[in-house]
Symmetry: D5
Subunit: 147 residues, 10 copies
């Protein structure tokens, strides 16, 4: 069976060759675009229907489709400090604002965390006369420490 990385490479190749976008894939699969992208890159297991729809649109081999349905070992960064500038900026936000986020979560909610499991993500464009902006929304359930 193909690994998740090999399946993701096959997805990228087919997508580039056919000129299909992540949003088109998300519409076909019937899930939000960020979830669909993450799943096709190997970070979420797809359901039978979802994998079939994606495989059909991208004309993927059956073994790619099978791999998309597998339970992943998650974690996509090659290095602990990412070298790609687009990804690095997110790490920089964590370096500069991590403790700020921690303080404000605890001030508002008490002791606990924002779940990264019961969690959703959105990436959108915000028009701005001084140059458009990227807006990322991270939305996770608060989980209090509970013994």
């Amino acid at each position: 069976m193909l690994t998740k990385q090999q399946a993701a490479a096959a997805v990228r190749d087919a997508k580039a060759e056919l000129g299909i976008t992540w949003r088109q894939l998300a519409d076909t699969v019937g899930r939000p675009v960020a979830w669909t992208t993450a799943a096709l890159l190997g970070q979420h297991p797809m359901g039978e229907q979802e994998a079939r729809a994606a495989a059909s649109l991208l004309d993927l081999e059956p073994e790619v489709e099978a791999s998309l349905r597998e339970q992943p070992y998650r974690g996509a960064l090659g290095h602990q400090v990412p070298t790609d500038p687009t990804v690095y900026r997110l790490h920089e936000v964590l370096e500069v604002y991590g403790p700020t986020i921690k303080e404000l979560i605890h001030e508002e909610f008490g002791d606990g965390i924002m779940s990264a499991i019961n969690f959703r993500l959105d990436v959108r464009r915000e028009s701005d006369p001084q140059g458009d902006r990227v807006v990322l929304t991270l939305n996770g359930k608060f989980l209090p420490y509970q013994w």
Copy 2:
């Protein structure tokens, strides 16, 4: 002069002793709460007025106030992989969704990055009958690669 870390410790102590919140500090300083928290934790230099207002509310020594106005060396994580569970969840989001965010930024905007400098952050609570949610909004200007 005090280091930014020493000043941040003095801020935390005074804040705990006086029972003041980050939101009250932000109101006093007249800046958004996330910016104010980051600045008082040593990640942004404060203006003269802002430092004076914070120092007065928290009854800080003059050398703490002076330190708050200094240009920082930024970067607040003790380890490249943070050990604190609240902060770690943000690193996990990067591990699991980093390439997804990269793909969606490039699909929407082309080659470039979301700035972490021309950038603002918001942390808020979203009510939810199944348990309230933490919502983080990262909002940064898109910067295209431009030679």
Copy 3:
């Protein structure tokens, strides 16, 4: 204010000097022994009553008591691979059985994790004629991936 590490050192010293056990501390505080030990070592914030009870039994300074009530930055290992043999064996279990645990969680529950937040821990002795055994029970809520 004292750091959590300094407070933990003060706790250890007083405990050794007075010959008090973690179980006696847990009875006094009115919480399970593993939680109480973790809290006094700086990994959980104590409530006002709990901190007062522990401080009184151990005859701690007010600033230690105040520190015990603070929100912690969690993470207690000096190195990513612990050098202490007692602690290392737990890391070895993770090295040898980590993927086994992952497979069995997914087989039983589907895609998700065992929470380390909505979580409790128990350490107990099991009599055995061939030598008594240490039994650790890790009990955490299952959290399914939920977009």
Copy 4:
């Protein structure tokens, strides 16, 4: 001969294709499910009978069966800090509660360790109206330091 990793991959593939569970494999092999899973993932050598039973149920090649009987080099984590969220939570338990476990072992047993060799592991589901729970039991012989 196949490496243990290659054999484990063959096991996973056959298992997914045939829709067989780890528990069915454990019943066939006649050993506890956690042991069986660990052995098939390459962390324990299987006996002749055990390897034959597993190979027969999964329809594995003889060289896979031979590999399952080999003495392993143990250690299954690709990184010292695991990136997979399911596995990471176990590392987080060690970060937050490692010293607590150490203190309670020494208080109960004196100077020594919980063996990770004379050791067994159990993973089970506990029903709970607020969401079912994962319960891991680590059971190892206490070994006192003995010169």
Copy 5:
């Protein structure tokens, strides 16, 4: 599709075989020489025309040309501290003069950074009777911290 690394290797091979220089490639592509070199080494996506011109001069396979147009994962150093002496000297400059550059940027511009995105680079020779000199010019837009 070929990876960017494989495409860069094909570029290097063809370039060596045909005896073509980076400057000739830059003239053919119609972009500055440093940009062209970086793009052919896999650090910038090329436009359709640019990739075609380079592929034609170097007689590259279509799949190499396709790869040159792909969005890259940037970051070209195999190690965080480069071992190659030519590249190491640039790291040494950062070690010795990094804080100096930071101080002088802040003194001249206030709080912010030199962009590495809205950025251009030039490498040229300066004649000198005591031995010619290498002159690198790094030219990036100043981006002020702006909330």
Copy 6:
């Protein structure tokens, strides 16, 4: 005697208190501003006159002045990958353009390096209607491999 780091801290404090700029210090010392800044931050030993001039302008203690004249152990980055965004951008340039610079040096000069010892650095502002630019010039003697 004070370490170079302690002397640099004393310089920064005095400079901030007296409102003196690096350029004023460079004029007083009679050396280029980048050299002067690097020397006062502990990366170059100062001559007797230079140290006296700087100490007099900043009203420094004799032991600080003595330390400024000492031979340094160079290297100013706390981490191999710098966390400060202003400094990180220089590391990013190396990640993205390091091999490009290497190729162009070898194409122009043959096998060898740009010296970081027989080397000078300049930091200046370039006016630009779309936002002013930071221009760094790295100027080092070419050293051919010579057996």
Copy 7:
């Protein structure tokens, strides 16, 4: 209370000042010399009598004596690869002969380990006309994997 490291430093100082050897200390304490040395360097907790005997011979402060009786966090190497040549040679033996030892243990005993807990160590001199030899004997109970 003193840390184990501080106590070990006090032991070394007193031992050097008084000209006492580790063998004399072992005789006084009534334990083997390697155990005694390890305990005084902070790797084993001493019993009440043992600590008193050592403290009396070395004329140590009561707080040093108390520290010697504490349960240690073990692990004495400052770096994972030791820099001291005497200690490094032991690491080199592990690098060169580690798998050899593993193979021969498994050939002789089957699957399991040599305990480092139920373990003793001896260091002795062997006369040899070509230069005397250091002989280290590591003697640990074999522990079979036992579920």
Copy 8:
């Protein structure tokens, strides 16, 4: 030519298939068993006769035999901290007893090291009613620091 790692894999495979032990190999080769095992695992170059004897007993290809005679790059651990429990215990001995061994070598011999080159190793079983014991003997010439 095969690498030493490939030759070692061929040795292991043939050995497992033919059911030959390391001791039988040592007898055939005419060298001590620990040396023979280390050499066949790629840590010592074999003489012509030795390689031929081993190759003949194991029915190895000529290119394996040639590789066994090559000068090795030594060092067999995949990670600086070994993950295999059998090998880790040796690292743990170094962590816990490394400074003890150093102290006792210096007390007995003065300043110098135990050679790991003029060195031999033995692994043997010691019968013990409480469970047999593994005994490792490390025997190396003392080399004094000599300018």
Copy 9:
């Protein structure tokens, strides 16, 4: 084209098969033996004549000869701390005597470095009745810091 590592492997294989020494290669190439060895191991680009002479003596394929003429990415150690004992001893010299060499260079020459580019190396045997000695001579131009 072959990488430098692949070319070095081909050199080693041919050299072993034909029984040719590095000194014979150096005589054929007409350069010092240390330079020749380094070049054939991929650390220096060879001139056209030199590569042809070596390829002819070793009967190498044209693509190996082409690779020997390429500009290398230098740096030959697999790990920052080498595991091979022969190479490690040189690292140990740096650990133990690095600061000594630095002090003596500065005392003799002032502020600057010994060039590793304008540099030559010699390895020779020195007869000694107590055992022959290896003598390494490192000879590099002194480069003063020069702004």
Copy 10:
């Protein structure tokens, strides 16, 4: 007692204050200059006479003199890859020429190492009209692998 690092700092301070050179110290101590420098920097224990002579010339406190006579834990580099340019060049030599040295030692001497214990070092100036040269001579006994 002072640590070796503290003693080395005291030596450096006194040496700077009194304007004494390492060569003068070596003459006073009666040992070669490289050995003397290494010993005063904490890498060799000094004999009673040697320590007294150095202490007297530098007017050191008795506790510094006592520390100079202690057995050191060797290893003087703060980082595995040194940041100081003077010291780094030696590391670069190891990176570029390490395998060359290994090959030539084995070609000349067979399997074994150059001792770093039975070893001496010399640093001297070589006049050269094109700029004087630093010449380092590393001279160590060859030790053959000997079981």
